[in-house]
Symmetry: C2
């Protein structure tokens, strides 16, 4: 997916948010913003947004002293989601359709995206969980996804964010977890999930294998991922990709991918063909696009 | 008031909105955005935001062929407000406190600001009118303003936007209109009101005199305004300034000014010391600041 002109003000807002999370010195915030504007004034709009995201968050880490501005937020939302987990697990168990409920909860968890909103609160997430359980969803796409998972021997599940990854666990538990390979980011970027977050969510020992994208792109660049990642991606019977960064980088991938995403911005919603805020299960296949 | 780092993503959003209003060619939209980023990466943050606004909207006019992208919107909202005028006039007349009601309606009209929101609808304005009539307001500041207007021989009323200026008429009619000098912008910028809009609102023949700020700043730079403007500003017993652009450029003015504004963005709200969205009557005097 290309970068839209609408993404540019949003990149700058995200850069300012990240700089402020990293420290309180306004001269650093200003330096980050000026540097990001200089970058953005020359950016290649034919690239997917996460490539610009990668460059921006590198600038931020360099100018703010090399740490991870999102570290505390990631830990906080992992803890928060783990606190909700027993209750949600129970809701899935008692649901009329546990798989569908787990899909909805996994998508609800995608709200925990500090690239889109830095003012997110735990109450927002609680409200989102309830809303998502009764939100409209594409029943046909959901059934196609369910059948594909049922017959699959290997599922490749690409996580998106810390916190959210605990909600992913609810869905992975509805599959046979031993047939799941979980993919995370290689390095910290925004609040995206890394191996550390997979471990915090209790997924490392649950799934067959955890692989990573080999770097700090908040998405998946198939040309740049390690061999282990690429092989699992190519050979899986089902690929599940969570969230916006994965959608933006994989919506034109050379194989079938199921996307589970909360369409949090109008650019993504327009590309998917849904309303902003929609709860989306959609399947993309090469050459044609089937929702 | 200085420019905040938060203003920068907002400037880019505004530039994109304006470029899209001016035409449908995406290469022009992109050129506008890149040029504005280049400008913004070197901007002087000690200046008030309307100075950057002026530069941005000059870029937009040059790159989009020299027209006024907001012309149709300005005409539409003047017509819309004139359509509401008879009913609102009646509401003011029948109100328990006609002056206070007119103040509230004039502030509600400040929602018609396409610098802040390009997706504004007429329904939004209707809802805002009702909400503003019962919103909390600083009663002491309102009384101070009422008394100052009562005893004033000369009132200098600085308008903000087209459409909104019809709501200003309701308040000006509550003063003795012949003691009012009305100030508008010298040239079109965003949807700010010019002499043409004062005429459309029926104010030209109502007030004593209409002056303009001599240029295309969406605010008031006292060092740059024509002599007629400066004299009226300095000599008036009461100066009333509407909206954000006037607040941003006059909040540190060398004389007492009453500001009537809807605090539409967090940066302004923070400077005023109110919540975003608040209905504000506030008085500023040099050396100290009294709300």
């Amino acid at each position: 997916m290309k970068t839209s002109l609408e993404c540019i003000p949003c990149f700058l807002r995200q850069a300012l948010d990240a700089a402020r999370l990293a420290g309180t010195d306004p001269s650093v915030h200003e330096a980050v913003l000026r540097k990001v504007m200089d970058l953005a004034s020359r950016m290649d709009l034919t690239q997917a947004p996460p490539l610009t995201g990668q460059k921006i968050h590198r600038i931020i880490r360099v100018l703010t002293g090399g740490g991870d501005p999102y570290r505390a937020i990631k830990e906080r939302y992992n803890r928060f989601a783990l606190g909700l987990y027993p209750e949600l697990k129970q809701r899935v168990r008692l649901a009329e359709d546990p798989f569908a409920t787990a899909v909805r909860l996994a998508i609800a968890g995608n709200l925990i995206d500090f690239g889109v909103r830095s003012d997110l609160s735990e109450d927002d997430v609680r409200r989102e969980l309830e809303a998502t359980l009764s939100a409209p969803i594409d029943a046909e796409a959901l059934e196609t996804f369910r059948r594909a998972v049922d017959v699959a021997r290997h599922v490749f599940y690409i996580a998106d964010n810390a916190g959210e990854i605990v909600f992913d666990r609810l869905l992975i538990e509805q599959m046979l977890p031993r047939k799941v390979t979980l993919a995370v980011r290689g390095h910290a970027v925004i609040n995206d999930a890394t191996r550390e977050d997979a471990r915090a969510a209790g997924l490392t020992d649950l799934v067959e294998e955890v692989v990573d994208n080999g770097g700090d792109v908040p998405g998946v660049l198939l040309g740049d991922v390690p061999e282990t990642f690429r092989r699992a991606f190519d050979q899986a019977d089902v690929v599940v990709a969570k969230g916006q960064g994965n959608y933006e980088t994989l919506s034109d991938a050379p194989r079938e991918v199921f996307f589970l995403v909360k369409a949090k911005c109008p650019v993504i919603a327009d590309d998917i063909g849904c309303k902003t805020g929609a709860v989306v299960v959609t399947r993309r296949v090469p050459a044609e696009r089937v929702t």
